[in-house]
């Protein structure tokens, strides 16, 4: 059963399986294991980013295409749901049509960009997506009549998903069973399903062809596969997945703004997560997102301690200031591209053999 669920693509390493199991169990039981608002926020963020990063891995790791427009699709999904919720009221129906509209628009955008620029070369696509995504982010923050501009949108979500909704009168293991918990499990199970679907995609014949195209486009074309068709389909699929992750974020946060969905910083975060976790291994997305977000949330405290400890050395203390954590992740990123391009997952798999 497990094998079917994972589409026959097992972690293939004992350590990796254990780590993954630990992450999945922690996320599944997060409300009970780590009570508190901050840790629940972190857990939900990890779930959403696992989907987002895995969908980027579909593009970068499996199709070998670098896109800088991934946050654009993420944002389209989030804004679709957010606009629907603010326009037609907090019902599940508005979530449904908002998400649907977001997915369709994201797919249409991805199709247009793909057909337009994937014919030429990988570098070209990277540059075009970078330009289009920045223009989109600026357009969204200026269209304040529709999107709330820089301030973003605040809206209400269905009452069943808010803390005001009590499911059981008593606490279970010291945790209130309320709408917030339901909301978390909506995020968790949706993320799990989306991840399994993506695992299925990359292990299907389509996914194999995609890898062939990545490794040698010329040969794949010669065998008779339409390279442009495979690349464009991969772009569209990953855009759809990113849009779905975006609507999960919109439902969870009850807020959608440019800084949480469209900014270049998030794009760079995704890039770091994919590469550090491991390109071309779906499990890398789980590890990358978990490690990165935990670091983002908790490493800064640790670096604050280090900065205090070295405060008498003028230059070093600047290097380990909490705000400089991205510097060290950047260095780690460069080193991983050089020395272990398949990331942590690849390392763990090599250790076994």
């Amino acid at each position: 059963m497990l094998k079917t669920l994972l589409s026959g693509d097992n972690p293939r390493s004992k350590v990796l399986s254990l780590v993954l199991l630990a992450v999945v169990i922690s996320l599944a039981l997060a409300p009970f294991l780590f009570p508190g608002t901050k840790s629940l926020e972190t857990a939900a963020r990890i779930c959403i980013f696992i989907v987002l990063v895995a969908s980027y891995d579909l593009l970068l790791g499996y199709a070998g295409i670098v896109s800088f427009a991934h946050t654009m699709f993420f944002g389209i999904g989030a804004y679709g749901t957010a606009l629907a919720l603010s326009a037609t009221g907090p019902t599940f129906l508005s979530i449904l049509w908002g998400t649907g509209a977001g997915v369709v628009i994201a797919a249409a955008f991805a199709l247009a960009i793909g057909l337009f620029s994937l014919r030429v070369k990988a570098i070209f696509f990277a540059m075009v997506t970078l330009a289009v995504a920045s223009a989109f982010a600026i357009a969204v923050s200026q269209a304040s009549w529709l999107t709330g501009g820089e301030d973003g949108l605040n809206y209400r979500i269905p009452r069943e998903l808010t803390p005001a909704f009590k499911l059981l009168p008593d606490k279970v293991f010291g945790v209130r069973i309320n709408g917030k918990l339901l909301n978390y499990y909506l995020v968790f199970f949706s993320s799990a399903i989306l991840f399994i679907v993506m695992l299925r995609i990359v292990n299907s014949p389509f996914g194999r062809t995609l890898q062939a195209v990545r490794d040698n486009a010329f040969r794949a074309e010669a065998i008779g596969y339409r390279v442009i068709w495979y690349r464009t389909t991969a772009t569209v699929l990953s855009a759809v997945m990113a849009a779905l992750a975006g609507s999960l974020l919109a439902i969870w946060l009850r807020y959608t703004g440019p800084a949480t969905t469209l900014s270049m910083e998030i794009m760079i975060d995704i890039l770091l997560m994919v590469v550090i976790g491991g390109m071309g291994t779906m499990y890398g997305a789980i590890l990358g997102a978990t490690i990165f977000i935990l670091a983002q949330t908790y490493l800064q405290n640790l670096m604050g301690v280090a900065a205090d400890a070295t405060s008498f050395v003028p230059f070093i203390s600047h290097l380990v200031e909490p705000e400089r954590w991205l510097l060290w992740l950047g260095v780690l990123f460069i080193l991983s591209v050089y020395f272990f391009p398949s990331g942590i997952v690849g390392r763990l798999r090599e250790m076994k053999s």
Partner: protein, 342 residues
């Protein structure tokens, strides 16, 4: 029958073909005329046109290095923006240090301060380009995917290092006395600094054309763009040539950074990556690897952004994307594609 010797015949391209090749050059005047029709007010149009040319030429300075580097070695440097930011920060440090010179009313001292700032920042970014090429780019020649990722990583690290050295806040520096204010022609007010920027940009373009078209190193660079292996087979070390081009390109980015910083009078560590969006659009419009195309593309982008900023401020950046889309529909490889086979 003896006079049937084969004479060399120099083929001239048919008129139509020559016109289509030269067509992109006409785009800039056409855009200027369209802008005139849309704006209607000659004074406003003149101000905007000069502003657009100044902006375009500054972008050209930053983009030219990137495009030649790509043409020569098939390396696209996503970290190019780091040189722009570092150049601006180094230049501004010098200007702050020479505060007495920039505040004095002597034109000579003002220009000397700016010149020194430009010189130091170009040397600094040139050296940084050397380090960047050796450490970041060299190990990943020929692998596009890794190049994009690694140079992006270099950009992140460089931006963070700027924060470490110069602190997290943006820096303001006023322009030197004699570059402030504007000249009034008729009813149009033209900022002096923009004229200086246009002057530097045009001079640089002419110098670059001269170097590329009529010096030996330019010949080697052009030959390298056309067929790198053949240049190597003839005994030239293309890697060394590439290193020089990379350093010059980085130094030009630094120059562009100082000029852009003086134009805005405010610099942040992120300014480089923000300008890079325009730089990429320009490089794509011009055709990867082409200096002339890059020049035309930069002017088009500069003019169009200023016209649309005046006519419809909300669509300024979107309009440049639209321009890119239109140009690519007309010529899918850009205006003057240089790199064909790679």
């Amino acid at each position: 029958m003896s006079d049937t010797t084969i004479k060399p015949r120099i083929e001239k391209a048919p008129v139509l073909e020559r016109i289509t090749t030269a067509l992109p050059i006409a785009l800039v005047p056409v855009l200027a005329v369209l802008g005139f029709v849309a704006i209607g007010d000659p004074a406003a149009w003149l101000t905007l046109t000069v502003a657009g040319l100044a902006m375009g030429l500054m972008i050209f300075i930053m983009a030219s290095g990137l495009t030649v580097v790509f043409g020569l070695m098939d390396v696209i440097n996503f970290g190019h923006g780091a040189f722009i930011s570092v150049g601006a920060f180094v230049g501004f440090s010098i200007l702050i240090w020479l505060g007495g010179w920039t505040a004095s009313s002597s034109v000579f001292l003002n220009l000397a301060a700016v010149f020194l700032a430009i010189l130091v920042s170009m040397v600094a970014t040139g050296l940084m380009g050397y380090a960047f090429e050796r450490v970041i780019v060299m190990p990943v020649y020929g692998q596009h995917l890794k190049q994009i990722l690694v140079t992006m990583g270099g950009l992140i690290v460089a931006q963070q290092l700027i924060h470490v050295f110069w602190g997290p806040d943006e820096i303001h520096v006023a322009r030197p006395e004699s570059l402030r204010g504007s000249i009034v022609i008729g009813e149009a007010a033209i900022e002096k600094y923009r004229l200086v920027a246009v002057g530097i940009g045009v001079a640089l373009f002419l110098a670059m054309r001269h170097v590329l078209k009529s010096t030996k190193i330019g010949l080697l660079v052009r030959a390298g763009v056309e067929n790198g292996e053949m240049v190597e087979a003839l005994g030239y070390r293309i890697r060394r040539l590439f290193l020089i081009v990379f350093m010059v390109g980085s130094a030009l980015a630094g120059l562009g950074g100082v000029m852009w910083g003086l134009y805005q009078e405010t610099i942040t560590a992120h300014m480089g990556s923000e300008i890079m969006v325009l730089v990429f659009i320009v490089v794509i419009i011009g055709g990867l690897g082409s200096v002339e195309g890059c020049f035309i593309g930069a002017l088009l982008v500069g003019l169009l952004s200023n016209y649309t900023a005046f006519l419809a401020p909300k669509v300024a950046l979107v309009s440049t994307i639209a321009l890119m889309v239109i140009i690519l529909m007309w010529r899918p490889q850009g205006l003057y594609p240089v790199v064909k086979a790679k």
